[in-house]
Amino acid sequence: MTMRYSFGGDEHLFVEVAEEMSLDAFFQSLSMTKAVRDAAIAGVTEICPANASFQVKFDPDVIAPDDLLALVRGLETQADAAEKVLDTRIIEIPVLYGDPWTHETMMRFRERHQDPTSTDLAYAARVNGYADEQAFIAAHAGSPWFVSMVGFVAGLPFLYQMVERAKQIEVPKYLRPRTDTPKLTIGHGGCFGAIYSVRGAGGYQMFGITPVPIYDPEQKISYLRDFMCFCRPGDILKFRAIDRAEYDQISAEVADGTWAPPMAPTRFVLADFLQDPAGTNARLVEALHA
């Protein structure tokens, strides 16, 4: 991969690892941001990994832009040599697919959709070649997803489906963005999934909703007391389809402070995955239920 370097004004160095998305590009971006962090370059104030790119914010009063560029470029070899192994965690996220709240929102913005007579789920199932919504949901909840970037708004994870490219779910974004999306909507646009951490504008197709808050600025949710954002780049999420009764039960337990998402530490080895995606995923998911 040939990285492309560009300055974002006088305070940002922007690096495109690859023009197209892939697990390789994502790992390269993670390795590079780790190398930049480890290098502890004076003047670097923020390091932000993205899907297939990353960004370094710096203070040009401390380090000259070209000096920073040379230092970061010099880390490419080290990042290339880094083992494509990630010690991370796998987290199960229950999802009420086809829920009433995203349905209501979807109907309000129907004229902005490619297929106003369909629902987002039915449309996504159809354009991805699934027989019906159930088969689509089984695929969506069937394999884990990488948190390949956190951002847009506070704590919102971009999710990259861990399957061969031919099997990846792809849907266009709404023709025109909605001005509203329920909080904790499970969305999808292009090849990326997302969980809307807060209510707000959005253009992704809406498939369902999770009862699991992932952003809490007041830090009252039991598992968000240490930090207000739940997801971090490199996390692995696994969806599980639930019904309304379980949705209500988990919501109540979250409010009580008695529920936290099931999670387990795990190690992801890129080479293993590329050789046997299904087998690797099965082992990852086993860790959740060990």
Partner: protein, 323 residues
Amino acid sequence: MLEVIKPGLATTVQDLGRPGYYHLGIPLSGGMDQYALRAANLLVGNDEGAAVLEAVFLGPELKFGRDAIVAVTGADLPAKLDGSAQPGWTAFAVKAGQVLSFDFLKRGARAYIAVSGGIDVPIALGSRSTYLLGALGGLEGRALRAGDRLALGAPAGAAVAGRSVPEALRTLPAKEVTLRVLVGLYWHRITEAAGKAFFGDVWKVAPEADRIAYRFRGGKPLEFVPRTPPFGAGSDPSNIVDSCYPYGSVQVPGGTEPIVLHRDAVSGGGYCMVGTVISADMDLIGQMQPHTKTQFATVTMEQALAARRDRAAALQAVRDSLA
């Protein structure tokens, strides 16, 4: 204590901002015109980074619970104390029980109201700044409302009424603004003709101009270089695989309306950016009203850094004049 009688349009508590969390989607926030914010604090004897009120377009009405020194900088939003006019960019004394209000905005967009001791709201992730989208910081993560009560910090004791920032150092935006841009990022995605038009056309600030971003209208739509969309980017020619967005970056969804991200920026997304407004011009954006005629001018990194040094020198001159 400050009692909010009228909140203004979208008055928020802001300081220098909240660096360090952009990788989790939490932007800098902080005053959009950092120069005016720092000057306001210096005038009332505060630390430059103390929390102040940022009022946009319409001022609040505030009743003071204790004596204080106050200064209003930034936009020309004339202050009145119990109805009598107070000069801008100048420290004035307020007695407990007096009411600070404002006349209609004359020029600029955002005024900074500093009170000796600073606005004392809880610190969230190292800052008192309000981030509205994330309901974080400031007063309960939101804009002020009538009836709110704001605590004040203990004054440092150095505040003196009557001090003012010299006229020459008061920055006010012109009727027509030029924003300097360093091209880059995904500049190669637009055609050469589109690039020329971007800098040649006169744009206008759209009504959608807030702390997240300023949108511009009126120029010719930008044409993109034809391509096969890269996997994951999306089918629109302006789509990219979702990336980080630098502060000040100029994105062009659909090629029609350039959007410049500011201090409450969305941290990333899938629209191609053609360049970035240089750091020296970011304060200026915070003072632009809708409909302001705007041109973008291309500059080199050397010019961007020189402009940055000029800004730093102006701020140092403010410090020296008030020392």
